[in-house]
């Protein structure tokens, strides 16, 4: 199944109603409540006119005619008006609040489902989709999907009101009603014409907004370059040009709106005048009573305005359908890592890992690893060395079982990783990836990730990762919240924190994927020294023996720490052995690791 963009399907009105149907089924109680509220509001708007008529006939006219009126009648007027107003207010609250509750709940449902899916789908799936796309699936696509819910109850109420009003009009006078209802198609046509002219401009404006935001994002990201090369005027011109293009489109869209708004607002009035013109004739000929004309004119005014809520509803459909389809594509994605029943031994010695002829390729992509073999003995350090794109990072992903090999197998103490129960492997192995990820949480939360660990253990992990210094300097120490993706920390600090996260778990296998690349070489040196001494002395795991270590590295100092080096080239193991052995017999290896120290100064 390809989960890339399918051929863009047209979003029909039927599709829009189908999406709404999903929401109505899911939140039918709230929907019913808000639709009833809206209907109540509509009915009481009509009732208001009825109360006025009743008051005129039974209170106003007799009082002014007779010169007196009982207080009871006056109280009845107050009671009726206020009663209707209160019920109508209840209707408004039910309609608006109901629409809000329904919309926000549906957003929450979708976001919960999408994030569950993100957590369940394997990393290979994540790699096939750009991060930005996955984020907007959970954010703007979810919002767009449920946007038509906002005007929905109003539209349902209006529909009820229209049916009642039109029925009443025809009951009153068929000829006048026929004239009056001409307003409805006129409103619909005016709306359609308006949409026809304005929607291309709206789409264009939306696109320009995205482009403008892209320019600002990039320009602010590159602020140092812009500032130090004095390119502020050029950058400002680039931004201004786009801003002015957006401005001009908005002004054009504004003119169209300016023209249509008064037309739509005047249609009911024109309709009333038409009813009146025909009505005069009918009243003169005795075919209708003046009251009939007044009533039809009144019904027309109250229904004509809310008709526009259909326009708002239908206007949201295209965006909604597109957003819903994108969200569904995530929810329908398949693929899971499978787990066995095996448990890991509760041993505390370093892990014994065998990598046995593993191959891996991206779905219909190039082969990244091809028949890789090596072993990691308990407590030993293996360095993975190779040029860019030789398959090093892919290998660490397989070792951490973020993806499974296509061929071959990886075993821990003889058990295939795929036969282990869910969560078992994570208890044994800890991966520190190249780009350190920091959660929007406290320092403590970032290190423990919820595991039951004392502060002393957190501090000793931070210390081993050379992170205790900067954490102590943070305003609230371990309790300092780091903000989204740890934006307040430098790259090197983030990496050290990620390392502490791995160390605090006392892993039997530690996998470092170039995990100290942004750390100053001297600091890196101290980290590696600490790792090595604590690994061999067992400090790292509280008296337990040796942690096994797999390190992807560029720096010679790091490589030199390893008991064995695996030299990867083009996804294959070119050679294995100690650093000294490889230096002596593997020419391309020697060139690779020595390049650092012997720059060909010309």
């Amino acid at each position: 199944m390809s989960d890339e963009d399918p051929t863009p399907q047209r979003a029909t009105t039927t599709d829009g109603f189908k999406v709404l149907g999903v929401a109505i089924r899911r939140e039918w109680a709230v929907f019913t409540l808000s639709a009833l509220g809206s209907a109540l509001f509509g009915a009481l708007t009509v009732a208001d006119a009825w109360v006025l008529g009743w008051s005129t006939d039974h209170v106003l006219v007799p009082a002014l005619r007779d010169g007196e009126i009982g207080a009871g009648w006056l109280w009845a007027v107050v009671g009726l008006f206020v009663g209707v107003a209160i019920l109508r207010a209840v209707g408004v609250v039910a309609r608006r609040l109901g629409a809000g509750v329904m919309q926000y709940r549906m957003q929450a449902h979708s976001r919960r489902a999408v994030t569950r899916q993100y957590l369940a789908l394997p990393l290979a799936w994540h790699h096939r989709h750009p991060t930005g796309q996955l984020l907007s699936n959970a954010n703007s696509d979810v919002e767009a999907s449920w946007a038509p819910i906002a005007p929905l109850p109003m539209a349902v109420g209006t529909l009820a009101m229209m049916v009642i009003a039109i029925g009443q009009m025809f009951w009153t006078d068929v000829v006048l009603a026929s004239v009056a209802i001409l307003v409805f198609p006129a409103v619909v046509v005016a709306n359609l014409v308006f949409q026809h002219f304005s929607s291309p401009l709206m789409t264009r404006a939306q696109q320009l907004r995205a482009e403008l935001s892209g320019i600002a994002h990039e320009s602010f990201d590159g602020a140092l370059v812009v500032k130090t090369l004095g390119r502020e005027p050029e950058e400002t011109t680039r931004f201004r040009d786009k801003a002015q293009e957006l401005r001009d489109v908005n002004i054009r869209a504004g003119r169209i709106r300016a023209a249509f708004d008064p037309i739509l607002a005047s249609l009911p009035n024109v309709g009333v005048l038409a009813v009146l013109a025909v009505g005069v004739g009918r009243v003169s000929s005795g075919a209708a009573a003046p009251g009939d004309v007044v009533q039809i004119a009144f019904l027309l005014t109250i229904v004509a305005f809310p008709i526009r809520s259909f326009g708002w509803l239908l206007g949201e459909f295209p965006r909604s359908v597109v957003g819903y389809r994108r969200v569904q594509r995530v929810l329908n994605a398949t693929g899971r890592l499978t787990y066995g029943k095996a448990r890991t031994s509760r041993e505390t010695t370093g892990a014994r890992l065998r990598v046995d002829g593993i191959s891996y390729a991206y779905a219909d992509g190039p082969t990244l690893l091809d028949g890789v073999d090596f072993e990691v003995e308990p407590g030993r350090t293996v360095a993975i060395v190779g040029e860019t794109a030789s398959g090093k990072s892919t290998l660490t992903m397989l070792l951490a079982r973020l993806v499974d090999p296509e061929k071959g197998r990886i075993t821990l103490d003889g058990t295939d990783l795929r036969d282990l129960d869910a969560g078992e492997w994570a208890r044994v192995a800890a991966l520190v990836p190249q780009t350190a990820f920091v959660f929007d949480d406290s320092v403590r939360g970032n290190v423990t990730l919820g595991a039951d660990v004392t502060d002393d253990e957190v501090w000793s992990a931070l210390k081993a990762a050379q992170a205790d210094g900067f954490v102590t300097a943070l305003p609230n120490g371990l309790d300092t919240t780091l903000g989204e993706r740890g934006a307040s920390l430098s790259g090197g600090q983030r990496q050290r924190l990620a390392l502490a996260r791995a160390l605090v778990r006392r892993p039997r296998l530690l996998i470092l994927d170039d995990a100290t690349s942004a750390v100053d070489p001297e600091v890196e040196q101290r980290i590696l020294a600490a790792l090595r001494s604590s690994a061999s002395s067992g400090e790292l795991r509280d008296g337990a023996n040796d942690t096994s270590l797999v390190v992807v590295a560029y720096r010679k100092a790091t490589i030199a720490l390893a008991d064995e080096v695996v030299h990867l080239e083009g996804g294959r193991v070119l050679d294995r052995g100690t650093h000294t052995e490889l230096l002596a017999r593997d020419e391309s290896y020697a060139r690779l690791v020595n390049a650092y120290e012997t720059p060909e100064v010309v």
Binding site: V59, Y104, R240
Partner: protein, 605 residues
């Protein structure tokens, strides 16, 4: 750098601006907003008069033409209908003109505002820029401005028209009966009095909901951006719990804000019902009280009054809706104005700025002290001179203050005490254009824009042709690398240059510097490890780039220091040693000797 900063060095939030003050300042920054405002206001008055007159005329026609004393009067209906049509046409025209003018003024004014704010962000000191998330800065010049524009064109004038309509309806009511007019206003009294209360509640509820949405989106991004960590550490459950908590808190906050809005909105109709009852009861009472005096109200007049109440309720409801939207718009406007209120303290001396002569520059640091605002000094009383054409490396441990020297030399920050002189001139007196032409910084990570390689290199020299770029690459020994790229100089580098490797991005940054052809080159050496072969290329290109210029390299590798003419050793913000590598290494027990021995150990066997 995680220095905790004083408020005045942060990007202003504008939070302490009152609503009226915000609007006043906003108009000052976008004068186009009030261009031709008199004409627009006149049209607005016309449109609001029309909003009242049209229904009144229609109502009159209905009353007098149909139920008049002489029975249905076709002539009257046609005449009055014609008047009504004319009134509709005039109102429509006024409303069209008003809205178009408003759109034009608002869009022009806000496009100016966002461009100004964008430029101002670039004029802020580096330090201030770094106090705000990039995304937040971006939204201040994009979506925040959109919010304001939406509000002005859909809410702002409608609000004025609504108030105008209320006033005109009031005037007409007073003409019919001042007592009943007062009564109607009394019925709306509680609503008007509760405005401030609701405004505060709504503002608080929306602020909370906006913050909560931001937190929720941050939590939702974790399983995507941090997918590898979440899976490798098997913390899916904990991550989901955190997300669910934020999602729940978000919908709760949104629903609460919606509840306030709904209740607030329903008050207009409630007051309207009360007013209707008041008009009938009050009208009857007045009619009975004045009975026989000739000044009493007729049935028709009382009914007309009830009709005026409906004309009054409409704008009140519209007004409450607009006030709700106004909370968001004013908050957005504040955030954008907040940028412009942040001092840009790197002031260009303007026309009086000195123009540096071309050719390698000399550098003097004269008793330079620098402290981040509110922090302890990072550099203490540093003095040194560098002769033109020298190649200098600055070394020191992390946090010693060596990177600060680069920032002061390129004037992305200004010093606290002392002087930094280039060719004998204080950097603060050098004109901005001259400074940026003569001094070029190659930062640690070469930032690339989403465009072609050539376009990126042209940030160094705008007029450079493709041929000149190829030639510059050849000079730096990068000719074969450039030729090996799929489309040569036309190769698209992707977002942030992601189609290239980290090392290749550095090469582009060097090429950019070569075209800029500076007289002083300041290099902040990259710390991240790259493919050793590429590293070699970078070193060779650097070597060629530095020849014939004064250069200062903030060195993280001692091999760089070894190759320099002279080394400056910074220790805890002070100049500890200076001299050629060989001399410094020989000073046993010195800072440099210590750094050197640890570096040697690190190089391993």
């Amino acid at each position: 750098m995680t220095a905790i900063l004083e408020p005045e060095t942060r990007v202003g939030s504008g939070e302490d601006l009152g609503a009226i003050e915000t609007i006043r300042r906003g108009i000052k920054h976008s004068p186009e907003l009030v261009e031709g405002i008199r004409g627009t206001m006149a049209l607005a008055v016309l449109a609001s008069v029309g909003q009242v007159v049209v229904p009144v005329v229609v109502q009159q026609t209905l009353d007098n033409g149909l139920s008049g004393t002489g029975g249905p009067d076709l002539g009257y209906v046609l005449r009055a209908g014609l008047i009504a049509l004319v009134a509709i046409a005039v109102t429509g025209w006024a409303s069209f003109m008003m809205t178009s003018r408003l759109f034009t003024a608002a869009e022009r004014g806000l496009s100016t505002l966002r461009t100004k704010a964008f430029r101002h962000v670039h004029d802020l000191p580096m330090l201030t820029q770094s106090t705000e998330h990039r995304g937040a800065l971006v939204s201040r010049v994009t979506s925040d401005v959109d919010q304001v524009s939406q509000f002005i064109v859909f809410g702002g004038l409608l609000f004025i028209v609504s108030i105008g309509q209320m006033l005109i309806a009031t005037v007409v009511m007073v003409v019919y009966s001042w007592q009943l007019a007062i009564l109607v206003w009394l019925c709306f009294g509680p609503l008007f009095l509760s405005l401030r209360f609701f405004q505060r509640k709504l503002s608080a509820a929306y602020t909370l909901s906006r913050r909560q949405v931001a937190k929720m989106l941050s939590a939702v991004s974790e399983p995507v951006v941090g997918a590898a960590v979440v899976k490798a550490y098997a913390v899916e459950d904990r991550t989901q719990e955190r997300i669910d908590r934020e999602i729940h808190a978000t919908s709760a906050a949104q629903i609460k804000a919606q509840a306030y809005t709904s209740v607030f909105f329903s008050l207009g109709g409630l007051s309207g019902g009360l007013a209707n009852a008041g008009v009938i009861v009050g009208g009857v009472s007045l009619a009975l009280a004045y009975r026989g005096t000739g000044g009493e109200l007729s049935v028709g007049e009382i009914l007309a009054f009830a009709f005026l109440v409906t004309l009054f309720v409409g704008p009140v409801q519209m007004g409450t809706q607009i006030l709700t939207d106004a909370q968001n718009a004013i908050a957005s406007w504040r955030r954008t104005i907040g940028i412009l209120d942040t001092p840009a303290d790197l002031v260009d001396p303007g026309p009086s700025g000195v123009v540096l002569p071309r050719g390698p520059l000399s550098i003097e640091f004269d008793a330079v002290t620098f402290a981040y605002p509110g922090g302890r000094p990072v550099l203490h009383d540093i003095s040194f001179e560098i002769a033109p054409g020298r190649r200098v490396a600055v070394v020191g441990e992390t946090g010693s203050g060596k990177s600060t020297i680069a920032k002061l030399l390129t004037r992305v920050m200004d010093i606290t005490h002392g002087q930094v002189r280039l060719d004998g001139v204080d950097v603060r007196e050098v004109g901005n254009v001259s400074l940026r032409t003569s001094v070029v910084l190659v930062p640690q990570e070469g930032f690339l824009f989403d465009s072609t390689l050539a376009e990126n290199v042209r940030y160094g020299r705008l007029s450079a042709t493709d041929e000149e770029i190829v030639e510059a690459a050849r000079v730096l020994g990068l000719g074969d690398w450039l030729a090996g790229l799929p489309d040569g100089v036309r190769t698209n580098v992707g977002q942030r240059g992601e189609s290239l490797s980290a090392g290749e991005r550095q090469l582009v940054a060097l090429l950019r510097a070569q075209l800029a052809d500076p007289d002083l080159l300041v290099l902040d050496e990259a710390t991240s490890a790259v493919d050793p072969r590429l590293e070699m290329r970078i070193n060779r290109a650097l070597e060629r780039l530095m020849s014939g210029r004064t250069s200062v390299t903030i060195a993280h590798r001692l091999s760089t220091a070894e190759a320099a003419d002279e080394v400056l050793v910074i220790d805890a913000g002070r100049l500890a040693q200076r001299g050629p590598h060989a001399d410094l290494v020989a000073q046993a027990g010195s800072t440099y000797a210590r750094l050197h021995s640890s570096w040697v150990a690190q190089q391993g066997s």
